[in-house]
Symmetry: C2
Subunit: 121 residues, 2 copies
DNA sequence: GTCAACCGTTGGTCTTTGCTTACGCTGATC
DNA sequence: GATCAGCGTAAGCAAAGACCAACGGTTGAC
């Protein structure tokens, strides 16, 4: 019910993508739909653990499931990816604006020795 | 040394973005560069906690710091965002290919009652 | 030189969360 | 109807990590 009308929040998707095993699951699903048991065989965790990760990924609209008999085929979904892309684009454009504003500020008063000398601690 | 030549891995960036407080920090920095103390005042966590989060964000190339006297001004950086965009684009195109391949398969043998009836658990 | 402001780091505590074992349910097969 | 394959869920436990207080270091002001 939450996979079509209401888009998931970017926070939910990023929390889902914040785990290495969940990213591994998605990378396996890139090659094509897979059932839970096959995913568990390809990962160093048990099948219930995979099932729990898939629940998180499904809540984030990153995967969809097709029930075929007793097999649950999971497949990558684009809805979750859209939410992240939009979220990141906000920072992207904002970083551009910040950089432009900073360049203007430095052009206005170019005398800033320390600010322009060291860039990383 | 890691902020320019060698791009950070998408895993590092996604792990960094997997925390709500770190995302809040980035959202504050969208409006412009801020020192650590001001960030801590705007967030429900202490200043050392903010400092630790900033260390993670800096390792992920999501922020850069400009030292001005005793003040450390943090600003959003695009390098980390690029890594995530590239990573997500892999899934994006792969999901498209999967969908195309699946459509071909269904067109080849459209007789699949259960597979097309229930789509979500 | 002295003091204050600002920040990074460390040690320790506690919450979060990821994993496994055990169990129950559904659908296919005979 | 009985049996088996394939999953999801709940409970308990261990590892990860997020948090704070205290400390030390550096810079600027006087």
């Amino acid at each position: 019910m939450q996979s079509d009308q209401v888009p998931v929040s970017a926070a939910t998707v990023l929390d889902a993508l914040g785990d290495g095993n969940r990213r591994s699951i998605l990378e396996r699903l890139v090659a094509g739909p897979l059932p839970v048991g096959v995913l568990a065989d390809q990962l160093p965790i048990s099948r219930p653990a995979v099932s729990q990760h898939l629940r998180v990924l499904k809540a984030a609209d990153l995967v969809v499931v097709s029930v075929v008999g007793t097999r649950h085929l999971y497949r990558i979904n684009r809805s979750g990816l859209e939410a992240v892309r939009d979220y990141l684009d906000r920072f992207w454009t904002a970083a551009l604006d910040n950089f432009a504003a900073l360049a203007e500020g430095e052009a206005a008063q170019p005398a800033d020795p320390q600010g322009s000398q060291h860039r990383s601690a």
